[in-house]
């Protein structure tokens, strides 16, 4: 219990220094996505059992839980990569049918991965430009000619990507193949690619895993800025309790594929069951 509290403390100060509005003050009414009674199993293994929660427009929603709790499976369900055996997903007021991930992308759901999933053979800029693919309209013939409409479109999207590059402060690595970048920067490029899609809902799977304190602080700042400036709704999975308690508006806690708790960070932090799941009995 105390470990959670102390870890949260330094970040809290930093946040207030930055002048970012704190979680408790914000209220969100409009539901963007609602999952209801989701159950997912692989063969006999149950990954998720009767999970229900909602994500509201404009908020930062954290999904936490011990390893193997089903957090990543939950994200996979949301962006259509896994198909739950049971339950419904309502997105923007419409019940979603069984779909593939690219349909989810079209509807405005972007995603980053636990293990960086960048296109290793391409430069940073090209990686970010792939995020614009859904917005590009010129056909194959015009692309083959290149000069003319296609070049104009390329330049227009390049300009948008350059804004994101400036925003995430990765100007220096624009032309570097992403395979050569250090881990922390790769995570940032992945975020940039997701942002290039101009998503309404951004799913972040452990955006700060494996980072040092400084990099984590940077990442926190970016997540908050994205939420603030673009108004993007964010759902994130994170293990660092300090970060979670600090930046999220509401937290849902999973354990062994079941929902343990759901609510604002302060409430969840005091929940008996959550403490038991995280720290074990007798701590």
């Amino acid at each position: 219990m105390s470990a959670v509290a102390t870890a949260a403390a330094p970040n809290q100060n930093q946040q207030e220094d930055g002048g970012v509005t704190q979680n408790t003050a914000r209220v969100f009414d409009e539901v963007l996505l609602e999952v209801k009674d989701i159950s997912l199993a692989f063969g006999g293994v149950k990954a998720l059992t009767n999970i229900s929660f909602d994500i509201r427009k404009g908020e930062i929603r954290a999904i936490i839980g011990p390893n193997g709790a089903g957090k990543t499976s939950m994200l996979n369900v949301i962006n259509g990569f896994y198909h739950p055996q049971d339950g419904t997903i309502t997105y923007k007021g419409q019940v979603r049918r069984k779909m593939r991930p690219h349909n989810a992308a079209k509807q405005g759901i972007a995603r980053t991965f636990q293990n960086v999933a960048l296109f290793k053979g391409m430069s940073t800029l090209d990686n970010i430009m792939t995020g614009r693919l859904l917005k590009m309209r010129t056909n194959m013939l015009l692309q083959a000619i290149y000069w003319g409409p296609n070049q104009r479109e390329e330049i227009r999207h390049r300009e948008y990507c350059e804004q994101i590059i400036d925003f995430l402060e990765i100007q220096a690595i624009r032309k570097t193949p992403v395979g050569r970048l250090p881990y922390g920067l790769q995570k940032r490029v992945e975020l940039a690619r997701a942002l290039a899609m101009e998503p309404e809902l951004l799913l972040l799977d452990e955006p700060m895993a494996g980072m040092n304190v400084e990099e984590k602080e940077d990442m926190c700042r970016f997540v908050l800025d994205v939420n603030e400036e673009f108004g993007t709704t964010i759902a994130l999975i994170e293990h660092d309790m300090g970060v979670v308690m600090d930046i999220s508006d509401r937290v849902v806690v999973l354990d062994y594929g079941r929902k343990l708790a759901d609510g604002p960070p302060d409430e969840v932090r005091r929940d008996e069951e959550v403490i038991r799941a995280y720290l074990g009995v007798g701590h």
């Binding site: 960048l118 995020g131 010129t138």
Partner: protein, 359 residues
């Protein structure tokens, strides 16, 4: 010393996204092209034109085509020979059916026809990945060759099962196929045609489509999650690739050998083109040219070598030795530079930039 980009500032995105952003490269490529266009036709012997430059250009087109599929989109295909045969036989049927239509147009139509065949074979086989796909493309290879050998319709009922290129002019008296076509004519046409096709390929791979292909190649799951439809992306790569390969097959039959049977496009042809792109460099248009040059020149060098040293060997022994040396060289090359000649060229350029300083 001379190869510096210092002082060349780009002030807009258009110049930053150019094919050759460095001025020296632009000048160099232009000079090479002008030399090939204006000087070579006057100094080259017929042997050089017919046996080296024409096949080099024909294979370059095929290599660019396969590189789009394998190098850029990451799908290994062993069906290249079959698709080349498609291009050749489609051209033959079309041009004998409609002799008045310009041969250039016929080539392009044959290319589109091959692209359709590519899509037809792509739909079932793209459900699978990796080596399974490679094996599935062999189905296209064997089926297509069988179809062209079994049905005399394709050769206009030629008793030997051979198609012979009829004389066709690009314009006026400028014959590029048939007996009236001089080697210089063929060479000049192929040079411009290949250059145009290479430009098209380069434009595609630096546009949205090319980025979708590369995304599929590098990580198909992530590509799907940013909104790329994997099947559509792979199929488009299959189609574009088949288009290029079909055209190269047509050029092979009509301009390189002038008369050909379906067996000329056996599975060894597929391997040959695959070797070109691996040795030249996967995912590189320049590499396609370098690889084609390497594979065209190697057997010529190998078969002339013993005679140059003064050895007299029986013909079949030479053939077997060629096989051996070819195989060994392939392995050697893969060990020394798995990223191909294009990578070597790049390293050389980096060195040149720093020269004469070591760092």
């Amino acid at each position: 010393m001379f190869y510096r980009e210092a002082g060349q500032y780009k002030s807009d995105y258009a110049s930053d996204q150019a094919i050759f952003p460095i001025r020296q490269d632009r000048i160099g490529v232009l000079l090479i092209f002008l030399f090939a266009l204006l000087v070579i036709p006057f100094i080259a012997t017929n042997y050089l034109l017919n046996s080296i430059l024409v096949p080099f250009l024909v294979f370059s087109i095929a290599a660019i085509g396969l590189n789009i599929l394998t190098g850029y989109c990451g799908q290994v295909s062993l069906g290249t020979g079959g698709f080349m045969a498609c291009g050749a036989f489609f051209t033959f049927k079309l041009t004998t059916w409609m002799p008045e239509v310009n041969i250039l147009l016929i080539f392009l139509m044959a290319g589109f026809g091959t692209a359709l065949v590519g899509i037809a074979f792509g739909i079932p086989s793209l459900r699978i990945k990796g080596f399974y796909l490679a094996i599935a493309t062999l189905a296209a290879q064997f089926f297509l060759i069988w179809m062209f050998t079994q049905n005399p319709w394709w050769t206009n009922y030629n008793p030997a099962g051979v198609i012979t290129a009829p004389p066709r002019a690009l314009f006026g008296n400028f014959y590029i196929t048939g007996i009236e076509a001089t080697p210089v004519n063929k060479y000049l046409f192929l040079l411009c045609f290949t250059a145009a096709l290479a430009l098209v390929a380069k434009n595609l791979v630096r546009s949205a489509l090319g980025r979708a292909w590369m995304a599929i190649r590098d990580m198909d799951i992530a590509a799907e999650i940013i909104g790329i439809r994997p099947m559509a992306a792979k199929l488009s790569a299959f189609a574009v690739s088949s288009f290029f390969i079909g055209i190269s097959g047509a050029a092979w039959a009509f301009m390189y050998t002038a008369s050909v049977e379906a067996l000329a496009f056996e599975v060894t042809r597929s391997f040959q083109v695959l070797f070109m792109i691996i040795i030249g460099g996967l995912g590189s248009i320049l590499g396609s040219f370098l690889g084609a040059a390497f594979i065209v020149l190697l057997p010529i060098a190998l078969s002339n070598l013993p005679a140059m040293v003064g050895l007299r060997l029986p013909v079949d022994l030479i053939a077997h030795l060629e096989f051996m040396i070819f195989g060994a060289l392939i392995v050697f090359f893969l060990i020394v530079e798995p990223n191909g000649l294009a990578r070597l060229w790049q390293i050389g350029k980096e060195k040149l930039r720093r020269w004469p300083f070591p760092y």
